[in-house]
Symmetry: C2
């Protein structure tokens, strides 16, 4: 994978498949992630909840859908890894590692390149949510935000 997050060459043992350009469902981006990570090489392997402040920026009308999020301490963020290839069934993370199945890795390279981070909610600033725990490149399109309801129950906000 190069510093932009692309992974254009096939390493020994990796298996590429022909993926027809089918669309079973359409995603609509709802905003973007703001992080201090300009390139893939800058990104941590996994986000840390004691890492740097990042921001989730919501486009209208979805900023209003944040009402009530202040009651939670953690959330799951889904984002679209728009630079990742989608056609590898097995992957080798280094030149020498044994290839493993794509679903046994959290690599950005997957048939549906959706990233998932569990973040710590720091504060809301209108249409922006300050969080810690993201691991993606600055500008990554935002797809969804779900409060973490397993360990906290917020008054007035049913778990589901």
């Amino acid at each position: 994978m190069d510093e932009t997050g692309r992974h254009d060459t096939i390493r020994p043992g990796e298996r590429q498949v022909h993926v027809p350009p089918r669309c079973d469902a359409a995603l609509r981006f709802i905003g973007r992630c703001r992080t201090p990570f300009a390139t893939r090489a800058d990104c941590p392997r996994q986000g840390r909840q004691d890492g740097p402040d990042c921001a989730l920026e919501f486009d209208p009308p979805w900023d209003a859908a944040l009402d009530g999020i202040e009651a939670f301490e953690h959330a799951d963020v889904l984002y679209w890894l728009d630079r990742a290839r989608r056609d590898l069934v097995t992957q080798s993370k280094g030149g020498t590692a044994v290839p493993v199945g794509t679903f046994a890795l959290r690599s950005p390279v997957r048939p549906n390149p959706i990233g998932l981070s569990r973040v710590r909610l720091i504060r809301r600033e209108g249409a922006r949510l300050i969080v810690r725990g993201l691991d993606c490149i600055d500008g990554t399109p935002l797809v969804d935000l779900k409060p973490e309801t397993c360990h906290h129950s917020a008054p007035g906000t049913p778990a589901r």
Copy 2:
């Protein structure tokens, strides 16, 4: 919401928006979830890891992408809630509850209706993975599977 998971009426205080039928990214279904839940009314509010056995069925060629998953105990499953509406900014979960923002709920009704469950991996049977912890209707399209790597490190399978 009716027993099929649809939510066709607007309750007091709920806010609907006009969502243009835009496609920013295309999802390709990779299989389906098999659960004992035939209707939305049968589904648990949230999946339980001591709940009933369910199956993730992977279509070719993605079944081969499971190789190595046996090393993990838990995984995050992403699926597409194909019966959910996508245009509510605020929602009221009961007729009387105060509406809250869509992103402060884990409701299936959201701009990108992707469901997320953390499941316990029971065993692999070829292209099927037996899991516990799903909460969706039988036949729900499968989008992604990611091993849970925070608490377990598997030999030979790098964390990312």
